[in-house]
């Protein structure tokens, strides 16, 4: 067709013009050739190390078996566009998704919405149209903020089984959250049960994903925050404070106990030591004195008079020595004391 047109044109145009056209066409031919070559290799590409590719040949995944549908990283040869279509899926990558729909999010509420949120703070309620939450098994309201980590494990299912895999993921997570919180008590949800909660959410959500063959595997469900609504926040804080008060009081009395009992025990030790010392001292004195007495008795048996007198004199000397006053009454002229001094006479024993 092109040939014919050119021939017709040659007949009616002048020669120089034809010559220049001819060179032009030659040049154009090269451009066309280059363009054809570029087109032929337009779908040849490098698959990066964190991704795989699926080649759709006339709309169908190329490769005989499902395993061959997935092209591993490396250089990939594929036919140009209407024939082949390359779909890349990052299967190594861990994706993250934040779910804010079940919490009060002041940043998300702008302008009028924000003042409306304040209004419903004042009315003491939550409009379900504007703000999400979960109901616990014991009819309390809590608001979680969740982050999901997930990975695409089946690129074929991910690409060809779901129109909006991310929306599906968000919805199954929310449903699992609502379901799981709905079977727990508020105290569990806010304290010890968090781990149990995220585990159950992950299990339930994954089961839902698998049921519709999503090609997604949830790696982690993270509870960034789970709080009672702002309206009753203060009441929950009060409980926390009361709890801390209780712990403090118990701790204080425990430390009282830890101080007082060792103190009493130390006192006991001191008392017993003191008693032991007293006993030892008493016995030592007794033994000493008994020994001394025995010795003196032996001596006394040998010469009773001497010992008696010595002891007596020592005693008198000592007594006079430390007495306040000593009055010595000489023998009256008659050589005889009157009777009233008789009692003053100290007899030497045995005399």
């Amino acid at each position: 067709m092109i040939e014919e047109k050119q021939n017709k044109a040659e007949a009616s145009f002048s020669r120089p013009l034809l010559e220049s056209l001819d060179t032009g066409f030659k040049f154009l031919r090269w451009i066309v050739l280059v363009l054809v070559a570029v087109y032929c290799f337009s779908n040849t590409t490098v698959i990066k190390s964190d991704e795989v590719a699926i080649v759709l040949r006339f709309g169908k995944p190329a490769g005989a078996s499902p395993a061959e549908h997935i092209k591993q990283p490396g250089l990939l040869f594929a036919f140009p566009r209407p024939i082949d279509n390359i779909i890349r899926v990052k299967i190594k990558r861990i994706y993250e998704m934040e779910i804010q729909d079940l919490r009060y999010n002041a940043q998300q509420l702008e302008g009028e919405a924000r003042s409306l949120a304040e209004l419903d703070y004042n009315t003491g309620s939550i409009d379900p149209e504007r703000e999400g939450y979960c109901l616990t098994g014991d009819s309390n309201v809590v608001q979680p903020f969740i982050t999901i980590k997930y990975q695409i494990t089946d690129p074929v299912a991910y690409s060809f089984r779901q129109q909006e895999p991310e929306n599906l993921l968000r919805d199954v997570i929310m449903a699992s959250m609502v379901r799981t919180v709905g079977e727990m008590s508020v105290d569990d949800v806010l304290t010890e049960g968090k781990k149990q909660l995220t585990t159950a959410v992950l299990t339930r959500a994954q089961a839902r994903l698998d049921q519709v063959n999503s090609g997604i595997v949830i790696q982690a469900v993270e509870l960034n925050e789970i709080v009672p609504p702002r309206h009753v926040m203060q009441d929950f804080k009060n409980v926390q404070n009361a709890f801390i008060d209780r712990e403090t009081k118990i701790k204080e009395s425990n430390s009282y106990m830890e101080e007082e009992i060792p103190r009493a025990e130390a006192e006991r030790e001191a008392m017993l030591r003191e008693a032991d010392a007293y006993a030892a001292d008493l016995l030592a004195t007794a033994r000493g004195e008994a020994g001394a007495f025995r010795e003196i008795v032996t001596e006394y048996k040998d010469s009773p008079r001497v010992v008696r007198e010595r002891l007596y004199r020592e005693a008198i000397e000592g007594s006079i020595g430390w007495s306040g006053r000593a009055a010595i009454i000489p023998v009256p002229a008659g050589g005889k004391y009157s009777d009233r001094y008789d009692q003053l006479r100290i007899a030497i024993p045995g005399e």
Partner: protein, 298 residues
């Protein structure tokens, strides 16, 4: 010659490409197609691949996305069996099962969404009316019937849409469960009361525990001290008894002499620095000092 041949080939390639474009259509993996001739369906394609058709305006390939689609219903207020108002926001996962029926009855997925919305809402109202609120939220696992309710809704919806619209409902879930704004107020009031009760309980427990520990401590320390006193007294008593025994044993050697030494000791103890002693000179020790012959009496 060769030059001409090349030209012919190039020409044929271009013509071929144009024919290919006009006479064929591709169905991608996950899609289906209904080919219509002047608006009348003539062919249904359910597998991906390359298919032929007459050029437009004779035949048209209507591609239908057969991948699963997630649709969220409106928030609708409904009553449970125990007459509690609840608001359920649910999602539904559905896909086209019968492309021809789907194409003839609805046509587009977006139109299908709005059809489904009404059907699901009806099914939801029916299903929820059979259960109490405790089937949705309860700490007693036996009360919870969420999965049954979801299944009930799914079955109902499925029954209605599968024959009529060629749709397969794959999953139903409740992504939000709320109470009407008015009721939340009472929930909050109840939460407050419950918290106040907890706080009071903790405070009372704190007092009780603390005073219990303190009084236990006091009791323990008192017991320790009493025991110590008793033990010390026993030790001292035993020592005194032993000492008395030792003394008695020694003194029994010569009781008379012991009495003598004991009196001397008493003398020592009786005379203090305030005592005045009056002595006769003919009594000891002066009698000896005065006598010319010492120990005359002896």
């Amino acid at each position: 010659m060769i030059k001409n041949l090349l030209r012919v080939i190039a020409g044929l390639a271009v013509v071929g490409a144009i024919c290919f474009y006009i006479f064929s259509f591709q169905v991608q993996e996950g899609r289906m197609a209904v080919v219509t001739r002047f608006g009348k369906p003539v062919k249904v394609v359910t597998n991906a691949g390359l298919y032929s058709k007459l050029p437009w305006p004779f035949e048209k390939a209507n591609i239908i996305d057969a991948r699963s689609r997630v649709f969220n219903t409106r928030q609708t207020e409904m009553l449970t069996r125990d007459k509690r108002n609840t608001i359920l926001l649910s999602y539904i996962v559905w896909s086209v099962k019968d492309p021809l029926r789907f194409f003839q009855s609805i046509g587009t997925t977006i139109a299908a969404d709005s059809k489904l919305d009404g059907i699901i809402t009806n099914a939801k109202i029916n299903a929820l009316g059979k259960h109490d609120l405790s089937a949705l939220v309860s700490t007693n696992p036996e009360d919870l019937k969420v999965e049954e309710i979801e299944k009930d809704i799914l079955d109902n919806v499925q029954q209605e849409v599968s024959d009529k619209y060629g749709i397969l409902v794959e999953q139903v879930g409740f992504k939000r469960l709320s109470l009407p704004e008015e009721n939340v107020k009472y929930v909050f009031a109840q939460m407050r009361a419950e918290r106040a009760q907890y706080a009071a309980r903790y405070r009372a427990e704190g007092e009780r525990e603390a005073s219990k520990i303190r009084s236990e401590t006091d009791l323990k320390t008192a017991r320790i001290r009493a025991e110590a006193r008793e033990k010390a007294a026993t030790i001292k008593g035993e020592a005194e008894a032993e000492a008395a025994r030792i003394y008695a044993e020694a003194h029994s050697v010569d009781p008379e002499f012991y009495e003598f030494t004991r009196s001397l000791e008493s003398l020592n103890k009786l005379i203090g620095n305030q005592t005045t002693i009056v002595l006769r000179t003919d009594s000891a020790p002066f009698n000896y000092l005065k006598s010319k012959e010492p120990n005359k009496n002896k």
